[in-house]
């Protein structure tokens, strides 16, 4: 919710009407002088006088503008309800007042309109309500509110902006992939949460320890306190089975396709869905994105991690050309042995893919490669000659076969195939 107060004073901009009136006035006076015609000069003077009086009798208002949004974090495709309340706090009418709430171009107006013309009396309030849809993942800002005041004759205009902004984060959509993963080969290896003998957030008792500032009161062991006289807290065991690494390719090549259908968009949806699935099972999930640079989110579990992952995925852009092997080399010391690795990449334009996956497999990681078919995505926007397309597809198949040969499970994800459907291909890989 944003709230701001805006005052108008003075007149900044002449309208075309005023400019024409001014030049006409001057012209009439001069032409009147040329031909010694006082009537013309008087008409010209009347024009200029009207301008002068309008400039002098300038209205001004004191507005209170307040914006409310139904949500600040939404999933791709969700709607947001925005309401704007305008109150005239001055003792004069606002005259012609125009309000426009600046909505990002990437948001689609679903209901209502984000602008309003009004003439508010003293103390009067008007409400503007509209609904926008967010079809694109990302971080957006609604606002500022542009306010335009016109005087009665529409000769002068005063524009100002109320710097009140509402930040909106649009997360990638989450697909339900539970059934697909149950039916495929992937989840069978990680059959849910089992107790690890390490302290952490979990359900089972692990040990007693002394109370430290910041510990929750709920974790205090009152019996131990009564017995020993010292504050002791219960420590729980960590519930996670293992760390799941999700590596998302955000290189420049991942922009190929349309704005809604490209390897990056498909990849973010897949990464969010896979993370969601494993976090629900109380596994720790790490998110790694690489493009112009590598962003690493250490493995964690819980809702906070879920939010971090979604935020990270919301902000990724197709940029850079970092090789996969550089990423795996950097991650290698941080990856627990045997932890599954999801690589979501179109595998285009990177000669290090094979050695990188070979290394991961060699270190005992279960590698699942989910590869949006960039050739087919490219075909949505470019005319690829038939023979080139076939050869490119053959080459891609060769690449996927070679990766599969290193023990990775490979999914060739076609643009028109749902994520859950695509995941089922693992069995066939």
């Amino acid at each position: 919710m944003g709230k701001d107060r805006v005052r108008f004073g003075g007149l900044d901009m002449w309208t075309r009407k005023a400019a024409i009136m001014f030049t006409s006035g001057i012209s009439l006076i001069l032409i009147g002088m040329m031909i010694s015609n006082f009537q013309l000069m008087i008409v010209g003077l009347a024009f200029l006088s009207l301008l002068a009086i309008n400039g002098w009798v300038a209205g001004h208002s004191d507005l209170l503008i307040e914006r409310q949004t139904s949500a600040t974090n939404v999933y791709k495709g969700d709607d947001i309800v925005v309401s704007l309340t305008v109150t005239n706090k001055s003792y004069r009418r606002t005259q012609q007042l125009e309000l426009f709430d600046n909505v990002p171009h990437e948001m689609k107006m679903r209901k209502g309109i984000n602008q309003m013309r009004m003439n508010l009396g003293p103390g009067q309030t008007a409400k503007l309500r509209y609904v926008v849809r967010c079809p694109l993942r990302g971080h957006y800002t609604i606002g500022p509110v542009s306010v335009r005041y016109r005087n009665a004759f529409n000769l002068f205009v005063n524009e100002t902006k109320m710097d009140d902004r509402s930040d909106i984060t649009v997360f990638p959509q989450i697909r339900d992939i539970e059934e697909a993963l149950l039916r495929s080969d992937v989840p069978k290896m990680y059959s849910g949460a089992t107790t690890l003998k390490t302290p952490g957030p979990g359900m089972e008792f692990y040990a007693l320890r002394e109370y430290l500032p910041g510990d929750s009161f709920r974790s205090i062991n009152w019996k131990a306190l009564a017995r020993t006289g010292e504050m002791m807290v219960n420590e729980k065991t960590r519930d996670a089975v293992t760390d799941v690494f999700v590596i998302v390719d955000t290189r420049d090549v991942s922009r190929i396709g349309t704005v809604l259908k490209n390897p990056l968009e498909m990849g973010t949806v897949a990464a969010a869905s896979v993370s969601n699935y494993f976090l629900k099972r109380r596994d720790s999930v790490s998110l790694v994105t690489y493009g112009s640079r590598m962003d690493y989110l250490p493995p964690e579990t819980g809702d906070k991690q879920y939010f971090k992952i979604l935020s990270g995925l919301a902000s990724v852009e197709a940029k850079g050309s970092m090789p996969l092997q550089a990423v795996t080399n950097a991650l290698s010391p941080r990856m627990s042995r045997g932890s599954p690795v999801f690589i979501i990449s179109s595998l285009e334009g990177d000669g290090t893919t094979l050695p990188a996956i070979r290394n991961l497999s060699g270190k005992g990681h279960e590698v699942i490669v989910l590869s949006p078919s960039s050739i087919d995505l490219e075909r949505l926007v470019s005319r690829i000659p038939r023979m080139s397309y076939e050869v490119l597809k053959l080459e891609r198949q060769n690449r996927l076969t070679a990766i599969a040969g290193y023990g990775a499970k490979v999914i060739d994800w076609m643009p028109d195939v749902e994520l859950s459907q695509a995941l089922l291909q693992i069995k066939l890989g």
Partner: protein, 547 residues
């Protein structure tokens, strides 16, 4: 050398060029502003102003006219305004020294030349025509100038200034110095050799019955036996300067002893031409000479030695131009040319007006001459010695340096306003300027855009289209095939490279593909299409086909 090149590169950067252009622009603006300011910072020599009381101003003359009940005014913009005067026959335009030039534009001539691009110094042609028109409509002009910018104006009436200094060996004011030259005329109203005295054209000298009382005050102007008694100076009105209150007598003398200060003279050839109604009234003496070589001395020439001599007098110093022959009509326009700009300055006109000059300057008839002209011009209709309410004397201040800061700017702006609303070329330019300005406003001035939300997410990420051709080449297709063979047979690159040809042939087990692998020749497109199809089919398992 590298340093020099680097410096040169830095000089040619857009940033540097932009900065240099901006600096040059502001420097130019600064110079222009300084140029303008300079004219105000340096004290201008103000003189011959009708509103000044200095020794060389015309304050005494103007005050006296005012005291006679005649309205005076100053023209600070341009003589173009003379065309606006409703009663020119009762108006006098006094030009005392034309000190400066002013801006002007090309003008329409109205003849076969269509446009005249150059203007003479001093008054613009439009202004000269306006003054001429004023005279044609009955106005009176007193033009007092010696070396100023009034040559063009005099030329319009057929008179030429000599442009040289006039000296007189004898007739100068000995009490003062040789710069003060006397111009004496005993019969200022004998315009031509045979015209006789035309003093009756001046109401202050007109006495038809010769009874010693001017006709304007004479009860019976045609009966010498009827003499009007009890005339006072007040009754004399504009002719009071001719009336002696003490003796109750009128001064009917037709001569003037005019004292000039550093005068010039008019060209002999043009100063007298009765056909063109130009009459040389006041002349210098035979002892006068014109310093034609401008050396400040009388030079006796010796033609054989190539020495130019100074021209010997007499020269016309006061010339009268009449719109009608001999100025017989009282409402005839007339111009009084005097080749001395200081004739009416306070120190000569009324020495007592400036205490420093009181008693120094010898008695002269400058005042009488000037007031005679005023009376002659303003007393029309022979009914009264008082000027009518329409009478006006206008002093031209448009060509005088102003004493106060901002005065010149005001004059210039006023001049521009008058000029651009009176001169046809200027009016045309102004009209075009207005038209262009209006068009520019219409084109350039835009209302604030209407606000509207635009949903815009259209974006296409294209791959590298240049690679499509590469993927149609036989060698690329061959490489794809060999990789496929290697992958299907789960061989490493090294193993595959070491594979004998016969083994490879056996692995492929397809004559067409084998031929394609080993036969490096040109392939037609349809051949390649067939080969690609075969590669797709080659090595396919059931699961592949199912997928």
């Amino acid at each position: 050398m590298t340093d020099f090149n680097a410096r040169l590169r830095r000089l040619s950067t857009p940033k540097f060029r932009r900065a240099a252009s901006i600096a040059a622009f502001w420097a130019l603006i600064g110079i222009l502003v300084l140029e303008v300011l300079q004219t105000y910072l340096v004290d201008g020599e103000t003189q011959q102003s009708a509103y000044g009381d200095d020794w060389n101003d015309l304050g005494a003359f103007r005050s006296e006219i005012n005291s006679l009940g005649v309205e005076t005014n100053a023209l600070v913009s341009s003589p173009l305004l003379l065309s606006e005067i409703d009663h020119p026959e009762e108006a006098i335009f006094v030009v005392s020294g034309v000190e400066r030039d002013t801006i002007s534009l090309p003008r329409f001539t109205g003849d076969e030349n269509v446009i005249e691009f150059t203007e003479g110094d001093g008054y613009t042609t439009s202004e000269i025509l306006a003054i001429e028109s004023f005279v044609q409509r009955g106005g009176t002009v007193i033009l007092l100038d010696d070396f100023g910018y009034s040559a063009q104006l005099a030329s319009q009436f057929g008179l030429d200034y000599s442009g040289h200094r006039l000296y007189d060996g004898q007739a100068y004011a000995h009490e003062l110095d040789y710069n003060f030259v006397w111009v004496n005329t005993s019969s200022a109203f004998n315009f031509t050799t045979n015209s006789g005295s035309l003093s009756s054209i001046n109401p202050c000298l007109k006495d038809l019955d010769k009874d010693g009382v001017i006709d304007l005050l004479d009860e019976d102007p045609l009966n010498p036996s009827v003499t009007t008694q009890g005339i006072s100076s007040d009754m004399a009105g504009l002719c009071a300067h001719r009336f002696d209150q003490a003796t109750s007598t009128w001064d009917f003398s037709e001569g003037y002893d005019i004292l000039t200060n550093g005068p010039s003279a008019f060209e002999k050839a043009t100063s007298y031409n009765p056909v063109e109604n130009r009459y040389a009234i006041g002349r210098s003496t035979l002892d006068s000479y014109l310093d034609t070589n401008d050396d400040g001395n009388l030079t006796v020439g010796f033609e054989a030695a190539g020495i130019e001599d100074d021209e010997q007098g007499p020269f016309a110093v006061y010339v009268r131009y009449c719109q009608n022959r001999l100025c017989l009509d009282s409402d005839s326009g007339r111009v009084h040319f005097v080749s001395d700009g200081s004739m009416l300055i306070n120190s000569l006109y009324s020495p007592d007006y400036v205490p420093d000059y009181s008693g120094l300057v010898p008695d002269n008839d400058n005042r009488k001459w000037a007031l005679d002209i005023i009376a002659e011009a303003l007393l029309i209709g022979n009914s009264s010695t008082e000027a009518s309410e329409n009478a006006i004397v206008i002093f031209d201040e448009s060509r005088h340096q102003q004493s106060n800061i901002g005065g010149d700017t005001y004059n210039l702006l006023y001049y521009l306003l008058i000029y651009f609303t009176n001169d046809w070329m200027a009016m045309l330019l102004l009209f075009l300027g207005l038209f262009i300005a209006l068009e520019a406003v219409l084109i350039r001035k835009e209302d604030p855009d209407d606000w509207r939300h635009v949903f815009r997410i259209i974006y296409y990420g294209f791959g590298d289209a240049r690679r499509y051709e590469y993927y149609q080449r036989p060698e690329k297709i061959r490489q794809v095939l060999l990789t496929r063979v290697r992958n299907v047979n789960a061989m490493s690159r090294e193993e595959f490279d070491a594979l004998p040809a016969a083994e490879l042939q056996k692995m492929v087990d397809d004559n067409v593909l084998t031929d394609f692998i080993f036969n490096d020749r040109r392939y037609k497109t349809d051949e390649l299409v067939g080969i690609v199809k075969r590669i797709k089919e080659w090595g396919r398992t059931e699961s592949d086909s199912g997928a």
